[in-house]
Symmetry: C2
Subunit: 342 residues, 2 copies
Amino acid sequence: MAGRVQNPRPTLEMVAAAAGVSRGTASRVLSGATNVSPAAVEAVHKAAAELRYRPNLSARSLVTGRTGLVGLVVNESNDHLFSDPYFAEVARGAHDALSEADVAMVLTLAGDARERDRLIELAALRLDGLLVIHGHSDVELVRGIERMHIPAVFSGRVPITGTSTVWYVDADNRGGARAATEHLLARGCRRVVTITGPRDMAAGHDRHLGWLDAVTDAGLPSSDDHVAVGDFSTDSGRAAMTRLLAAMPDLDGVYVANDLMAFGAIAVLAEHGRSVPGDVAVVGFDDVEAARTSNPPLTTVSQPMAGIGRRMAELLLQQLADPELDPVHEVLPTTLVVRDSA
Amino acid sequence: MAGRVQNPRPTLEMVAAAAGVSRGTASRVLSGATNVSPAAVEAVHKAAAELRYRPNLSARSLVTGRTGLVGLVVNESNDHLFSDPYFAEVARGAHDALSEADVAMVLTLAGDARERDRLIELAALRLDGLLVIHGHSDVELVRGIERMHIPAVFSGRVPITGTSTVWYVDADNRGGARAATEHLLARGCRRVVTITGPRDMAAGHDRHLGWLDAVTDAGLPSSDDHVAVGDFSTDSGRAAMTRLLAAMPDLDGVYVANDLMAFGAIAVLAEHGRSVPGDVAVVGFDDVEAARTSNPPLTTVSQPMAGIGRRMAELLLQQLADPELDPVHEVLPTTLVVRDSA
DNA sequence: CTGAAAGCGCTTACAG
DNA sequence: CTGAAAGCGCTTACAG
């Protein structure tokens, strides 16, 4: 009685019978093969629709060797991770692109060693490929994934050592930082400092270089007292701004490597009686939601987060189609969004 | 040449051959059956280890009818969703429990109609069950899932209509709110008001009832001017507190249905020159990270978020084991965390 | 263009 | 306790 309640799911066999063709022909029609007669195509589609046929994916996987499953790997300790809009948007972009290809996304945490082991097991057992949201640089994770010889695409530049096979998609952090700094210069700023991110994060490093590009090109100084290192948190932005102000009281422009730190910096400037952008112009990076409503609304650099996720998915699909492809490193453009802070 | 590089994955057949038993026996050993001789058990395990055997899950699924895949369904517009620690923690708890059972979690967005359709398709095709993080009440989603007749467990109380088959795990919102309010009463508060959440969210509703339980039991009034409705945002907490203060200037205790609104309320109290907890005591709900470092540190109600996720997973696993089980509604205890605001 | 057949790698009654 | 065999639902050469 139990288990007999539901009608059994129709199989290809039943569709073929209803269409008056063989199972092989039905399969060919449903997989979109071209060498099939129009009559057969029509009959099979009609039968499939009438029976509400859905293929058994396990059976298909058994013969194709593909699972149609891709892992979304995340190496952040999860508290951070989920509260990061970067993660959410990249995941959504990837999810969209994969759905269109009928590939599903398995959420895979890889924050600690135990989780990393599980990931490796899971990947070996049932994943066709990996999409890695790579927040903090995690050399062990990168190495582990390379060793598995599984198709993978990382988000964010992965420092390439030797003959690495890593694929990645990144935003143009360096170009965006340069554009932000050049915007400050164009407004007439001449003592332009920067608050950077942690040196071990590729994004932090690249955004620092962009600032350097711009000030160097303009023939302006870039000595150590022009630079304060933060950790991308608002508090660290406050501390960094305080230090910069002490070292160079007459600074007139600040390029900050992310919006959160920019908010901290602006708060400190206000406390010191400096108006923004009147006395000091400030540009951030990320274009988080709050940038639009902060006081003043923040001029910042926007990166195409969902686009990064989508592109990662597309590149992974390419790898799946041809495992012999050479690694691709793709850099997506960023956009300066001018508001009131600079 | 390509594709021939890797050694072919060992199959059960090869393990059986190496162990000198039949494929059937090897299968029985590996699936932990008891009716096997100790000698066979040892030989098979040894062979499997030596060959680094991993079962082909598609083949297994084809015969068992199970995929070993569970969907994590999320109905929030994703911006919110990911920045919500509730989501992150519930997901992590569920992930842990499922991993232990070798079940993987497929991330499934169901924010709009298109995504909802994809979910239904995906579930029909490849999921054994669903874990639904049910933020805003979404009747359509609940109905859609019930219609699919797929094992599912919701987070958060789902209003049950008629002969619903919904399973859910919730925190004891009502009990927690009652405890919070009783704490205010115990400190001597006598004019105790509340800021509630949206009426259409079960959590908001239940937390309001808990406040009502406590003040009613204490013989205190609970008229409309004791209640202000917010939307769980800090700003709405500010607005609500402003209204309450206008309606009842001599209030001395506030139970707020979440921490974010409590922060807003405390800010307004400070602006009105009321000290917390000296003039007005305040209790929140959620125990978010910031509650520990706010000024003053917030007394609040903590709910076992990861525990909810874990329990959801366990209940889903039970359903998978026996689809005929009656729906379970489980309520997990909350804890009052006393800090400085009350 | 199409059918018959083999085979993907497992699990599970069925005999013994 | 164990082996031989059937079968899960597909895809894909292979002939024709």
